[in-house]
């Protein structure tokens, strides 16, 4: 009887294990599939289920995977303990495909087997196209062997795709504290290529290493194609004084920013080279339609001594758009000036799509005046506004009442709930009976 039960149990367990294995294999197959969304979803799922079984499957199918899935497979393998991978990776070293050999050698290098560095360099040189080169550069980021650095240097060529050249140059910047003559020669050749992005990258790398010609050429390119700055900014050597012509071209890119990050980075660069030039450009962005851009510009201005002054902010506070007024009120508050509070409270009824932003700005003021307005917003028709008002209200109450302990969920209010009346009534009741007292005042 016991033996029969054990057999049944073993069968069930075995079936369950087989099902799990099949499920895992299906995900690996999807990783190798043509559908990008499916690949991504499979990768996310496999990250959760990463383990020795998955490693074995990946090692087995890696060489036959389409290239699109290989990068995901590399990420998954990298997150595994190296000791379970060594045998499989050593087999990679003899694969006819250079990318597979490079993956094997690079991962083994990370695991301490540095003797395969020759295979790695040879695979890098034999890489068939820029997609492989790009993938390999991601693998060799920390490999400082001279053979590998030399192979990276060979990727800096006019005929390569700009992504490969930029990645290789970033790698070289890190590997060579003093730029070698060989690298300089390769970069100069790349700087004479036809692809404008490759040229821009090479010129950015050369700024400070030549007589100013590179800076001048790069400035001309950036005036034509300002969007390239984001790609090549990191290649400008730290500590090098940029010529004014280039600084002007960089400043001009702020006229049409593409992201908050772009503004932050460019402002930082300008701040160290020409703070006087950065401030006027950033001030213009304070009136930009995009909230994030305005906030990024305000933050960047605040980092520049004298970049923001009350006159500018008060002009913005009196401005035509609610978005500008909110930005100005928030900035003034951050500078210990509460004059924007009255304006925010005044514009709140007509804030329309800016109500959530207004609720956020109100939450910055540790003032009793904001509480009735935030209590009203708890019943806003838009859940995003209610959430923000709830967060802001908690923030303000905790600041104003440091000797009281709150557990806000006990009020019964939930911004996502359909019936919010009881919770809001409780909050109003507390505020009227307790909070509005002016103890200590």
């Amino acid at each position: 009887m016991i033996a029969a039960r054990t057999a049944v149990l073993a069968t069930l367990l075995s079936a369950s294990w087989c099902a799990a294995q099949q499920d895992l294999q299906a995900l690996v197959d999807k990783l190798a599939g043509a559908d990008g969304n499916q690949r991504n979803a499979a990768y996310q799922e496999l990250m959760r289920r990463n383990g020795p079984e998955l490693s074995a499957m990946l090692l087995k199918s890696f060489a036959t995977m389409p290239r699109e899935g290989r990068q995901y497979a590399v990420y998954l393998l990298q997150s595994q303990p190296i000791d379970g991978l060594r045998d499989g990776l050593r087999k990679f070293l003899k694969d006819p495909q250079p990318f597979v050999r490079a993956v094997g050698a690079a991962l083994l290098w990370r695991g301490g087997e540095k003797e395969h560095v020759g295979v790695l360099a040879q695979a890098m040189n034999a890489a068939g196209d820029d997609m492989d080169r790009s993938g390999i550069l991601n693998l060799v980021w920390n490999v400082d062997a001279p053979e590998v650095v030399a192979a990276v240097r060979d990727y800096v060529a006019p005929e390569r795709q700009s992504g490969v050249v930029i990645s290789a140059l970033n790698r070289l910047r890190r590997a060579e504290s003093m730029v070698s003559d060989a690298t300089l020669a390769a970069v100069r050749t790349a700087a004479s290529g036809k692809d404008v992005a490759v040229r821009a990258a090479a010129l950015a790398f050369l700024v400070g290493s030549d007589d100013g010609k590179a800076a001048s050429e790069l400035a001309a390119i950036l005036r034509e194609t300002p969007t390239l700055l984001g790609q090549v900014r990191g290649l400008l050597r730290e500590g090098v004084k940029l010529p004014s012509e280039l600084v002007e071209a960089i400043a001009a890119t702020l006229e049409a920013p593409r992201s908050k990050f772009e503004i932050e980075q460019t402002a930082q660069l300008l701040q160290s080279h020409a703070p006087g030039m950065a401030a006027p450009m950033l001030r213009r962005l304070l009136r930009h339609d995009n909230d994030e851009y305005r906030a990024a510009a305000a933050d960047a201005l605040a980092e520049i001594p004298g970049g923001l002054d009350d006159k500018d902010l008060l002009a913005l506070l009196a401005g035509a758009s609610i978005a500008e007024q909110l930005t100005a009120a928030d900035m003034l508050r951050r500078r210990d000036d509460p004059r924007g509070l009255a304006v925010v409270l005044e514009v709140l009824p007509k804030a329309d799509k800016r109500r959530a932003d207004a609720a956020r700005v109100l939450g910055g003021f540790r003032s009793r005046e904001v509480i009735p307005a935030l209590l009203d917003l708890l019943d806003d028709k838009d859940v995003a506004v209610r959430r923000q008002a709830w967060t802001s209200l908690q923030q303000v109450l905790r600041g104003l009442f440091p000797y009281r302990k709150f557990e806000f969920e006990r009020s019964g209010y939930d911004p996502a709930a359909g019936d919010r009346a009881a919770g809001i009534a409780q909050m109003r009741s507390w505020w009227q009976t307790v909070g509005a007292e002016q103890r200590g005042k």
Binding site: D336, S411, K441
Partner: protein, 564 residues
Amino acid sequence: MRRSILPALVAVLACGLLPAQATTAASVTEPGRTLARPLGIFFAGVGREAAERTLLVVVDPSAGLAQSGFADALEVALRDNVEALARTRIALGVVGRKDPLVLAPTVEHIKVGAAVREALAKPSGDFVNVYAAVRDSLSAFSGASGERAALLVSLENGDAEDDVEQVVAALSKAKVRLDVLTSEATLADSYWAARPNQDKPRGTTLTGADGAVIDLPWGFVAQQFAANETTPSGYAMWGLSRLAAGTGGRVYLHSQKTQTRHVCGVYSQCLFCTGDHLPPDEAWNTALQAQLAPSAASRAEVYGELGRDPAYRAMIEAWRAAAEAGLMHSGPPVRVTTGAAQPDRARTGRGLDLWSTASFDRNAKRAEEAAQKAKAIADKLAAQLGALAPEEVQPRTRAAAEYLVVLLQLTRTNLIGYAGFCREIAPEWFDEKARAQLAAPEVPSIDDDRRPVGVGYTNLCLCHGVKPFFAVELPGGDALRAELLRLDELYTAYMAKYGRSQFGMALRHNGIARYWPTFPGIVGKVPRVRPKTDSEQTGPITPRRPPREGSSGSPSGPTTGGGR
């Protein structure tokens, strides 16, 4: 008309010239926080032609220096100045070695870079005596002809001080100019003074302040930590500034970029922002900062200068009175006699015993009595300072003395608040009926049914000023309100004068106290202490530098707003 203007003009000019004539940290400290500039200047030398020179680089291989990229920066500077260094021999000293001179003067500069890399490969976390290392490396100059200069690179160890004047004398005798590359000290740093039992290298004293003496009062009641421990001074530690000043050298400060972000309270909590504060006076006024710089003269000379300064003398008198009244944990480090100041042994202030019992009525009475004394001492000091003409007083000592006036008012405010806490809040917190009546979202502040054994506190920083506290519910009622108003007046006036300087920042680093009852700790099983074994080290060891409490993890000191 001309006659009436002339004396005033002369007086103004004289006042303006006074600080410039004295050797202060400002007169020897270079602007900037990079590694490239000091190394570039040091190796480039003066003049267009490559002159015959002998240079000594003394490196303190700390973790901070290893992480700073110093080895790379050094190699770049050597490469960039190849022509200027054509006739230069460079030696290398490494702090912490028995024989610090690890590389005799050589024209093979590549060896210097390699030796620095080797030294930094195993950074040391020990307290080391950089002054002794400089002294012991001077043999590098024996028989050297041409210009002689040394660069001491130490981000963390200038506070283990031995005989600074002896090092100055040795450098002067060897005709060596010493430049220093170091990190920024904190303003009148009291960190080691508050921790007198710290192990240190034999023959050294742990100091670390930007001045020769701690000239800013510290250790106020109800301030959890001294602002002196967290406020950047804008200058190096006195010992290092002194080496440069005494030998005609320069001081360069280094900090990482990440260190310049504004933080409202280092040890304290900020009630008024979530880390997005942009104080309008964050960027320092360099002229004001320089005016408030400490002296870089010898310690003996500094004592002489301070002893003659009536504001300093008044401040020391008030400091001592405050310590004796139990308003401060620390006593002044000097005693003033007729026209002179002398070092005094470390004394602690009288304990008021405000925190060790939960007898709230008793605590409230004691706090009110102490608050009275704070007012009397502050009023007396303010009156004394008001009677002094500007030309009688050094700007720095006036700033420190006025700081004491504001801090005594802050202490008074905190004591009145404490009395309010003991009378209003604490009984309510332990009253079952009051606890039961609390309406949601409020819940009882105390969820411990044990008897309290004392009172603890944290600080709510003053970074946003005093005014925002008017809206905050604090214990103390009208009495506290009156003290807050007075504090606001003093704070506003002080910040108008010193806001854009190290002293303004120090004031912002103090806070209004928030109190809470403490309960007996729950003690686990104490591990058995085993007898000593043979493997235990018996010989003398170099004490390791403990991580500084409250530090951000950054090894290279604080950074001023002006250092960006």
